[in-house]
């Protein structure tokens, strides 16, 4: 699949090198002020550096080596956070690079009038404007996004989709949209440009994967507020510790107020640096994951909304069932053998190129060994399906065969003096009730029987829907079928609900109904008539093969045009939220251990009795404080892979998911730092650094 070609290792060496450089560049305060938590760390690093210089000059009571080490590790904390962000951005940029290569500046053949053979002039693609007309032919690169208005051509879209098989683009219908940067392999097209330079699809995609236009998503903003509030709490808790420690020293008659170094070290350990430093990396990684699933989202907001979706509207055809109906059974009428029916049905379908027609020929061959015959050898005349007669068939010498829906064939039989027999009628009803489509085959007065056309439900789709149900997502099947057929397929595939005889209007009103009840609705669509519903849905994934109108109305475009992708999109959205929540919990739970490390150390002179709280038995007060700071910095690096990959989402229902994540990230976050800080302390002692 294309996404594997597009994916890259989590840590590409080139990306890492670039990120390391980026980490240092991002130390600039202007970069930091956007992230309040890390800005506090930055200020703390500056403060300790000043204290270090003072200590070197002989001021203060602390060893310059200790102050210097704290300062260095605080700078490292900021740099690690920058590194995390730079890695995420680097991965996006590498992807954008690949896309940019597709956007070489090409020459466009601008037509003076929109017809084949009209004179054209050569202009740079970047000079093309909306609604101008261009001509492209085999070997040309399509210069801009547009809509084919004449012609049909095969197009290599691998530059955008990663899929090497060519696709057909033709004027009119739902396959008319072409993308700039793709190449015509055969034939020609006349294309009306639909996007100005810089607004084209490829540009949007590049901007998105680069994170250039990344805006904070609503949940990210809310989380930012919570983190800022926590930072304020800790800022005040630590700042008030200065007068508290002063008073403690005063009443106990020993020790001194806490130094800036110790206060700052405590503050940095307490504020949620872990999540604060990884927050933007998580967001960028979410967009990146979306891009690697070959889905282009117009905003991070859309990605996040995908996680919230609780109603999924799915087109029956292509999503729930394999593209088309297939013949599965021949049920003969009175006095007809199965073989006779199969033979007649095959004859009537020989020239029928519809998938249903082909499946009849295939079934006849597989089940009754009736070989395909050439229609001109039989001197037969094929009667194609028309909207007027609503039948198709074949005229042989002195014999005609027709196939069609029951009511049409009944009308036909009337004109020939025949009628449907009771057994055939019963068969028709049976098939319709079971969700199949009965296709009646008749010739003259004679009724041969019924072909059972069946929608084949995709393998594994039932399990997929059960999974969605556990995720709390309701699935609704949209189909043009009659309610009886729709109900049967709905039952077979396990969807929660269905909309039969769907029209653009009732699709739209269905979405509005769900939204009015408070649901968040996602849907996929490709046709122009889907556009209103796509625009109304909260998450709308347009197929890349779809029309320009559909793509404009959606807030995501699926380059693979795979309608089941919606499920993947929902998972990616959820994963992003889960990662944020889990790391926030982890970050906060960490604080407990840090108090146990820093508080006894900070008051070692004033209140030596607090040493009883040094349950980790850290070697010295200096090593205790340093270990906490070092652990705090290293945990950021350790969690970068998790932030980029995302916490795994398992569709098991909210309670179990929460219990699992609380255990891993809550309890784990409580215990891990005790071990980690002790380990760092042992290393410090082992190296003889303290």
């Amino acid at each position: 699949m294309s996404s594997s070609a597009r994916s890259r290792k989590l840590f590409d060496r080139r990306i890492l090198a670039g990120a390391a450089a980026g980490a240092l560049l991002k130390l600039h305060p202007r970069q930091q002020i956007r992230k309040p938590v890390m800005f506090v760390v930055w200020v703390c690093a500056v403060l300790t550096t000043v204290a270090f210089v003072q200590a070197l000059a002989g001021g203060g009571s602390e060893r310059p080596g200790f102050v210097g080490a704290v300062a260095a590790w605080l700078w490292a904390t900021v740099a690690f956070a920058n590194f995390a962000e730079a890695v995420a951005e680097g991965r996006g940029r590498a992807q954008a690079e690949a896309l940019r290569r597709a956007r070489k500046d090409v020459t466009a053949k601008r037509l003076q009038s929109p017809s084949h053979g009209a004179p054209f002039e050569l202009v740079a693609a970047s000079a093309m404007r909306k609604s101008e007309i261009v001509f492209v032919q085999a070997g040309d690169v399509i210069p801009c996004d547009g809509e084919a208005i004449e012609g049909v051509a095969s197009v290599d879209e691998s530059a955008v989709t990663g899929e090497s098989a060519p696709v057909i683009r033709e004027s009119g219908g739902d396959r008319s949209a072409v993308t700039g940067g793709t190449r015509i392999l055969s034939d020609w097209l006349i294309v009306r440009v639909t996007a100005n330079p810089g607004e084209a699809f490829l540009d949007r995609m590049i901007a998105m994967v680069e994170g250039a236009r990344r805006q904070k998503t609503p949940n990210e903003i809310a989380l930012d507020i919570l983190l800022a509030a926590l930072t304020i709490v800790f800022l005040v808790a630590v700042a008030t510790l200065l007068p508290f420690s002063d008073y403690a020293a005063f009443v106990s008659g020993q020790g001194a107020p806490l130094t800036v170094t110790v206060l700052v070290a405590l503050l940095v350990c307490l504020i949620p640096t872990t999540i604060g430093s990884l927050l933007s990396a998580i967001g960028i990684a979410g967009m990146d994951r979306m891009a690697r699933a070959n889905v282009i989202a117009t905003s991070g907001r859309a990605v996040e909304a995908a996680g919230d979706v609780d109603v999924l509207l799915l087109d029956k055809t292509g999503t729930i069932t394999l593209g088309n109906r297939q013949a599965t059974r021949f049920v003969p009428g009175e006095g007809v053998t199965e073989h006779e029916l199969a033979d007649a049905a095959q004859l009537a379908s020989l020239a029928d190129e519809t998938p249903e027609g082909r499946s009849i020929v295939t079934l006849a061959k597989e089940k009754y060994g009736i070989r395909e015959r050439k229609i001109h050898e039989l001197k037969a005349r094929f009667i194609p399906f028309s909207a007027h007669t609503r039948m198709s068939g074949v005229d042989l010498e002195g014999r005609e065969i027709r196939k069609g829906a029951a009511d049409t064939i009944e009308d036909y039989l009337d004109t020939r003096g025949g009628r449907l027999t009771p057994r055939v009628r019963a068969t028709i009803d049976d098939i319709a009730r079971s969700g199949g489509t009965p296709l009646v085959v008749a010739g003259g007065k004679r009724v041969y029987g019924v072909v059972h056309l069946q929608d084949i439900v995709k393998g594994g789709i039932r399990e997929r829907f059960a999974e969605l149900r556990r995720m709390g997502i309701k699935t609704v099947m949209i189909t043009g079928d009659n309610p009886l057929t729709a109900a049967a397929i709905a039952a077979e595939s396990g969807v929660d609900d269905f909309l039969a005889q769907a029209t653009p209007e009732n699709k739209l009103s269905l979405i509005r109904d769900y939204q009015a009840k408070g649901h968040l609705v996602a849907m996929t669509g490709d046709g122009t008539n889907d556009a209103p519903a796509l625009a109304q849905a909260d998450v709308a994934v347009a197929m890349n093969t779809g029309t320009q109108a559909a793509k404009e109305a959606g807030n995501m475009v699926d380059l693979d045009s795979n309608p089941t992708k919606l499920i993947e999109v929902v998972e990616i959205g959820k994963r992003m939220l889960i990662t944020r929540g889990s790391l926030t919990t982890f970050s906060l739970a960490n604080d407990v251990a840090k108090y146990f490390a820093v508080l006894p150390a900070a008051f070692a002179v004033t209140y030596p009795e607090l040493g009883r709280l040094n349950i980790m038995h850290l070697a010295t007060p200096e090593s205790a404080i340093l270990s906490a700071v070092i652990f705090n910095a290293l945990i950021i690096v350790a969690l970068i892979p998790l932030a980029l990959r995302g916490v795994r989402y398992r569709p098991v229902g909210a309670s179990r998911l929460l219990r699992h994540n609380l255990l891993v990230y809550g309890l784990g976050g409580l215990i891990a730092p005790f071990l980690g800080i002790k380990l760092v302390d042992l290393v410090l002692v082992g190296l003889g650094l303290v």
Partner: protein
């Protein structure tokens, strides 16, 4: 502690639990203007509106609601302050007490308007009957009713969808007072009077001492007054301001074991029952039980810790109450933002004293004040749901309402306000001379006393660790500011949340929605409350009760 002591506690908790459902259901009904009591008293309610020109059908948006509330509270504050300063001119002052100093009057007025009832003044020796009744007792009622009103507004935020209004403050105030606080107080006051709590307009009684040689004066003045009526509401309305200076340790305020039981139950009664009312009002009783369960889960271990630590320590306790009744009272009164006492918390062991301090520092959400405890807990629930919601991969929602940036902003403010007040207040006090001057005890215990005072004022509790001379301009003013910030710094954000929630549509629950009624959610909520409290106050507690405890261990 003896088996008997533990039994006393078990019986008290069982009685409390048994009362939750009937009272909760009744309150849910009358607060929405239903039920037989509301029907009987409806003419009185309508009459009050007509008299005061209130349009009862007016639906206020959250800003109008807030303005009405603030204006009403400001008026109450001004009246109580004026009454105290003009005390010398007022009737019903048989002992001829003089006007109160402005800083003390401001402190006391703030204290009663904010449902704190911090008492810098000395009860019977400072305030006459008119001030106690017209000023303090009135505020005891309306400050508690204000808490219920805010809760009702927040409930409407959850139950209404796409609505602009959150209710009518005046209606909520009147109904809370008329249908809940007045009837319950009347019953309790009668019961207390039957137990011997004094209720009279006469001045101090004079008694001949039995052994004139041993006393400096032959005639003893025993203070009296209309106590039973005030004691009832001070317990029920989580006010805690005693009629007498030593509060419910005074034999005329709390004479018998039965009066002690009744007063003890009244501390938690309304706050606990409101959880059930909440469940009723949001049409999902399990939600109310979950919140109550979270409160119990925090209360019970802390109660046990207090009892175990105090075992054998009778200093500062009435021998007639003993360790169990005293520790239970100390825990209840600080779990709820009541603040009345029947023993002196200053004399508790370090860990025994830590329990009330921690309960206050948790933000007065473990039962907490009438109304205010539950809306405070709901703020924590919003924060807990936010983090948990992210962890299950959905935009967090609580009771069908999405929790977004605005709610987080306001919830953060509501949690920050008391935390910062306590820390900053304590820091200012220990850093400046007038602050240090009030401390009577040396060593870390002195620090604990200051920390306790600001924890009490900064969470609208009102109980005091004796040992701090608080009736000085410095403490009167700083503590008054702390009380104001802690009360309105929470109320305004909570009303803002109510307004914002009411405007939102209601999201139906699915299996992807985090259930907020199970044990998992209770654990999460408890964890959030404890973690926020612990992380905020760990350094301060380490320098107060914890080091005291460790030093005690070192000595023994």
């Amino acid at each position: 502690m003896s088996v008997n002591g533990w039994l006393q506690i078990a019986v008290t908790l069982a009685l409390l639990l048994a009362l939750v459902k009937p009272l909760g259901a009744a309150m849910a009904a009358v607060l929405e203007g239903r039920g037989w009591l509301a029907r009987w008293l409806a003419p009185l309610e309508r009459g009050l509106y007509r008299l005061s020109g209130v349009r009862a059908d007016e639906d206020m948006d959250w800003k109008a609601y807030t303005m009405a509330l603030l204006a009403f509270n400001a008026l109450g504050l001004a009246v109580v302050m004026a009454l105290q300063m003009l005390q010398g001119l007022l009737p019903l002052n048989p002992d001829g007490l003089p006007g109160v100093s402005p800083h003390l009057a401001f402190n006391t007025a703030t204290s009663f308007a904010t449902n704190t009832n911090w008492q810098s003044y000395g009860g019977e020796t400072t305030l006459g009957y008119a001030v106690q009744m017209l000023g303090l007792t009135v505020q005891n009622f309306v400050s508690a009713a204000t808490g219920i009103a805010v809760l009702l507004a927040l409930v409407r935020g959850f139950t209404r969808a796409r609505a602009a209004g959150v209710g009518n403050f005046w209606v909520d105030l009147v109904r809370s007072t008329l249908y809940v606080l007045l009837p319950l107080s009347l019953l309790l006051a009668l019961f207390l009077a039957s137990q011997g709590v004094v209720q009279t307009f006469r001045g101090a009684a004079e008694a001949q001492v039995l052994d004139p040689g041993a006393a400096p004066e032959a005639v003893q003045h025993i203070a009296r007054g209309p106590a039973a009526s005030q004691v009832a509401i001070k317990q029920l309305g989580t006010n805690g301001g005693g009629f007498f200076n030593v509060n419910s340790a005074h034999p005329l305020e709390n004479p018998t074991p039965l009066s002690n039981l009744a007063e003890l139950l009244s501390i938690l009664l309304i706050s606990a029952a409101l959880c059930y009312s909440f469940g009723r009002m949001v049409r999902d009783r399990r939600q109310g039980w979950a919140l109550l369960a979270a409160m119990f889960v925090i209360l019970v271990p802390l109660l046990a810790l207090a009892c175990v630590s105090e075992s054998g320590n009778l200093e500062g306790k009435e021998t007639r109450f003993g360790v169990a009744q005293s520790s239970m009272w100390a825990t209840f009164t600080t779990a709820a933002s009541n603040g009345s006492v029947n023993s002196m918390h200053d004399s508790y062991t370090p860990l025994g004293g830590l329990v009330p301090m921690v309960l206050m520092q948790l933000g007065e959400v473990v039962f907490g004040g009438v109304g205010s405890g539950l809306y405070g807990m709901l703020v924590f629930a919003i924060v807990a749901v936010f983090v948990a919601g992210l962890m299950v991969g959905r935009t967090p929602e609580y009771l069908g309402k999405k929790i977004e940036a605005f709610e987080m902003k306001m919830a953060s403010l509501a949690i920050l306000a008391p935390c910062l007040t306590v820390l900053v207040g304590t820091a200012v006090a220990v850093a400046c001379a007038p602050g240090r001057a009030g401390v009577l005890n040396p060593g870390p215990h002195g620090f604990s006393e200051i920390l306790y005072a600001f924890s009490s004022a900064g969470n609208n509790n009102g109980s005091a660790f004796a040992g701090l001379t608080a009736n000085t301009p410095f403490y009167n003013l700083t503590l008054a500011v702390a009380m104001l910030v802690a009360r309105y710094g929470v109320i305004v954000p909570v009303l803002a949340i109510a307004g914002s929630l009411a405007r939102k549509k209601s999201v139906p629950a699915s299996s992807g929605t985090l259930p907020t009624h199970g044990p998992l959610f209770v654990a999460l909520l408890v964890g959030t409350v404890l973690l926020v409290g612990a992380l905020t106050f760990a350094p301060a507690l380490a320098l107060g009760p914890i080091i005291e405890h460790l030093q005690l261990l070192g000595h023994s």
